[in-house]
Amino acid sequence: MLALVDCNSCYASCEQIFRPDLRGRPVVVLSNNDGFVVARSKEAKALGIGDLQPFFKIEHLLRRHKVAIFSSNYPLYGDISHRVMETLKGFSPEVEVYSIDEMFLNLYGLQEQWLDYGQRIRTTLWRDVRMPVGVGIAPSKTLAKLANRAAKKIASCNGVCALDTPQKWQWLQKRMPVDKVWGVGRRLAKRLGHLGIETAYDLAQANPKILRRHTNINIERTIEELNGVPCLSLEEQPPAKKQIYCTRSFGEKLTELQPIQQAISLYASRAAEKLRAQECLVASIHIFLHTSPHEPHYYSRSTLVQCPYATDDSRLIASLAKGAIAELYRPGHRFMKAGVGLVELVPRSLGQGDLFTAGQPARAGEMMQALDRVNQRFGRGTLFLGAEGVHKHWKMRQAYRSPAYTTRWEALPLVDV
């Protein structure tokens, strides 16, 4: 058996952990740059605030209902997610982090009353981390996803649903539209609809051999999974990222080249830092720049730059990115967003280079290590590239950001005594 544990309104719940006054109240979290609503507490959903609504359009509504508004606080969410994961390890030695707010547990070999076990997971996570979760338990990942959905949508489940017999999962499948099945997107659902497959149950009963001709090979596995046969294994260790992207909207639209180059230099050195953390080198870099798609003359360009040798040197990566963005830049546009992608990665252990081509100088590697160590010890941005500029006017707007309660000494929660 597997369990899927999913945090309820994860980001909004994180904001309530050190603000007990906000529990049970409407809370929303905005995307990077305060553009859209990306998380809503139950109470905010009840007010009719939709997912991904532009902040400026609903700001008056939020104010009228006294909704607590937060900018994204990723240091906090990352730390809380890690705590959830560590707590879950007490329930199963095998935990797969599927996303920041969803984790699969392998319950293989356990003989438990599943509903009790699920409730124990819930109460422990609430007690230790103050994170409300839903728990779905089933023999396959696809069914566990389905169970999790039921745990949240059906009030009498009280946050836990175990699909441990075909009778139970078929009952649920008959009431579940096929597009809610894990791995079935809206487009595929439409095509299945033409074949008379409307519900998850229809799909579970369909003939995989026939369906395969109309769709793709993955549908066969989905059908097996819907019938309780696990096909997707638990990946204990998520594979190292094959690409590293650092993309952000500017706080204000930029027309001049210099601030754009400063921004891209910062994104490049952030990406390089991540690259070093996973012990890789990069061989080619993707750089892009664009205006808002709502602007009258939408302008969007990207380019791929080959590095002279595989590198993890922030200075080299930033200068390549800076050069590339100058090529992409055109005056007369109001640019909204830029990004750096490290797209061709090689493990550092394989990047020794051979005798005939120059590789990264050893001293560059040492310098980057020193840089990372200083920034780890004294806080991000203690040392940075001059190319990033000193006054970062183009920085993201985060007007409503809460303190990093768990990761910065100066931001610890205050307790009245």
Binding site: P20, V129, T406, P413, V417
Partner: protein, 129 residues
């Protein structure tokens, strides 16, 4: 590639240090103060009502959520939505300060008292940071 790894192995030369056998991990305060890392958070004390127990303004509180609060524990509670540090008086259903200037706070029937965690330790700096 194989060749490269061969050469990159550190080759041990000379005698091993006789101290190697006696190596022990250095002491860590984390290990001493934090038994449940995932359930522990830190907070800053704000006020003087707990001075009698040696908790002064600006002291650091190490708070463990996973401990079951018992009578006499120093706890952090959510009182009217505010995080507050007091002594839990289970027997009389009230919260106590450790300073004569602050009377006990009764918890009325039906009022919900949420213990946010047990204060496992507090840290006092003897030289301003």
């Amino acid at each position: 590639m194989k060749l490269a790894t061969l050469y990159s192995h550190g080759v041990a030369a000379g005698f091993p240090s006789p101290a190697d056998d006696h190596k022990e991990k250095s002491l860590s305060l984390d290990q001493h103060l934090i038994t449940h890392p995932a359930a522990t958070f830190m907070a800053r004390a704000n006020g003087d009502s707990m001075q009698g127990l040696g908790i002064f303004d600006r002291d650091l509180l190490v708070v463990d959520r996973s401990l079951t609060p018992v009578h006499g524990d120093v706890v952090v509670v959510a009182l009217d939505g505010q995080l507050t540090c007091k002594v839990l008086d289970r027997h009389h259903g009230r919260l106590l300060s450790a300073n004569d200037r602050y009377p006990p706070i009764p918890v009325w029937e039906g009022q919900e008292l949420i213990v946010e965690g047990v204060v496992k330790a507090s840290i006092r700096y003897h030289r301003p940071r």
